[in-house]
Amino acid sequence: MIDVQQVTKRYGQHTAIDRVTFTVAKGEVLAFLGPNGAGKTTTMRILTCFLPATEGTAQVAGFDCIDQPLEVKQRIGYLPETPPVYQELTVFEYLQFVGRLRGLKSQALRGAIVREVERLGLGSVQHRLIGNLSRGYRQRVGLAQAMLHDPPVLILDEPTVGLDPKQIIEIRELIKSLAGSHSVILSTHILPEATAVCQRVVIISGGRIVAEDTPDQLSARLRHSEKIAIVLKRPPADAEARLAQISGVHQVFAQGPAGGFMLECALGQDVREEVGRLAVTSGWGLVELKSISMTLEDVFLQLTRHEEGVSPAENALEPTVTAPAEISESSS
């Protein structure tokens, strides 16, 4: 449904996004994940034909965003970062206006408004001026606006901002229910949202796509090695060397409070049993042993920290996986 190929956007000298390429299949929900200023909004604006790309092509449902903007716009529902509402209109009048702009006629228009008002729980406020509504209601009016003409493609820029926790869950459920029939791109910097709602995640940082996969595979793929953290009560002086002798263990670092060690092991090899046996039989006083798996949050930080130049020394507990050579050089 959505096909973005090598899209670059430059503002003068500044490159906002750089050769971004991704596709979204019909019925798929894709999360656009990235820190502020990573280029999420710029990419969305190009897809909605608001901004023209400097280079590359963006297509929605087979129509090019530059050559056939009207065709593209008809098939997209777009919720910008700030809900685009007119404060002097009531919710009903506003949705009526939106529907007319999108070519809905009397009967269909009324039906669509009733559907969206119900879907987003706007019944009690539909005859109130939008200017008098809270942020959460405005956000929901913005969502109703995006879905009013039942477009096959939805582009939602941070759809859950400003909502309370109950509403956030409702909106996430709503987006999940759209999967299958609609293609959805949603941008967020809230990681659980991406894992909860989306089938696929694109992580963007500094204008480039740094990773793209399902949430599970993304963390698996980036896990070059398994990690085990142990804490010993009475560590011997040569603990590091002895732990390193266990087959499958690549490297051992002392870390954290006295007696804490981090073991880096070969992928797919579970050495916990061996480590435990060694520690117990040697009487080191094993008090803690756990495997550390990377959450999406770790992956996200891994991938984006790089760009921001945060040295891993500040986050010693964080597993350092991507390009460890580069990072250790810079921190030493």
């Binding site: 909605t48 009207l70 910008p80 685009p84 002097e88 209109l89 206006f97 007319r100 606006q145």
Partner: protein
């Protein structure tokens, strides 16, 4: 409902829920009414003088004494009032972030510009229509020639449309409404003064060019009852040019 009429309906709704239209109409009608009253009182005083001199049968020309003066003054009132009506058209959309919504709606930019322009034109024509009460009331008490009054109204309508398109363009240039209003004032006053500059230079080529560029001469012809194609062409082409420029400006704001 076509997209243009949807935009018009929405804009009219926005105009009439905000106090701006009511304040602007009240001020405009009050000032125009007061001006008409003053010119009529002066005309009455002159009639009394004439009667004393000529004894009885003096005829005064209301077209010359009242309406030409009134049309000349209303032009200045419009210059102040109309930029206030147009300043919000695009500036507000950009300020409130609804601009992106409008631009990503499946309608052409032509339709957006046309819808917005026609909505404010309707508000203005409604206002102008209300001033029609002045000649109608006078016609109950006196005789005068309606023809120059109708051409005068045609002139006011064209002049107003011209002012509105300048205001629309100014509103497209900025997201600050005050700046938009001020830019239109400035531009229109400058156009006004071009006429003065033109008459200063007299019958030279430069003088004629300046007089032609300014809207003053074209409007004056219509007020005097002269409907010349040259003047109609001036207003229509200026209108098209300004709306085209506004279209280009709105389009280009996306690229920045």
């Amino acid at each position: 409902m076509t997209p243009v009429s949807a935009i018009m309906a929405k804009e009219l709704r926005s105009y009439f829920v905000s106090p701006v239209v009511y304040v602007v109409s009240a001020v405009f009608l009050l000032i125009v009414g007061l001006l008409a009253y003053l010119y009529i009182v002066f005309a009455g005083a002159q009639a009394i003088q004439l009667m004393q001199l000529q004894g009885g049968q003096a005829q005064i020309n209301l077209n010359d004494l009242v309406f030409r003066n009134l049309f000349a003054s209303v032009r200045f009132v419009l210059l102040i009032v109309l930029p206030i009506l147009t300043m919000r058209l695009f500036a507000e959309e950009r300020k409130l972030r609804t601009f992106e919504f409008l631009m990503t709606s499946p309608i052409g930019l032509n339709e957006i510009v046309a819808g917005k322009f026609m909505s404010v034109l309707l508000v203005f024509l409604g206002l102008l229509g209300l001033t029609g009460l002045i000649p109608l009331t006078l016609s109950l008490f006196s005789d005068f020639d309606w023809y120059p009054i109708l051409t005068g109204y045609l002139g006011l309508a064209l002049l107003g449309a011209f002012f509105l398109s300048v205001g629309l363009l100014a509103s497209a240039l900025t997201e600050n409404q005050i700046v938009a209003a001020f830019v239109s004032f400035g531009f229109l006053l400058f156009m006004w003064l071009l006429a003065g500059l033109g008459s200063l230079l007299g019958d030279t080529t430069a003088g004629q060019v300046l007089s032609y560029i300014s809207f003053m001469e074209h409007y004056d012809h219509l007020v005097r009852g002269l409907v010349d194609t040259k003047d109609l062409v001036y207003f229509v082409s200026a209108l098209i040019l300004l709306l085209f420029l506004a279209h280009r400006v709105v389009d280009s704001t996306r690229w920045k």
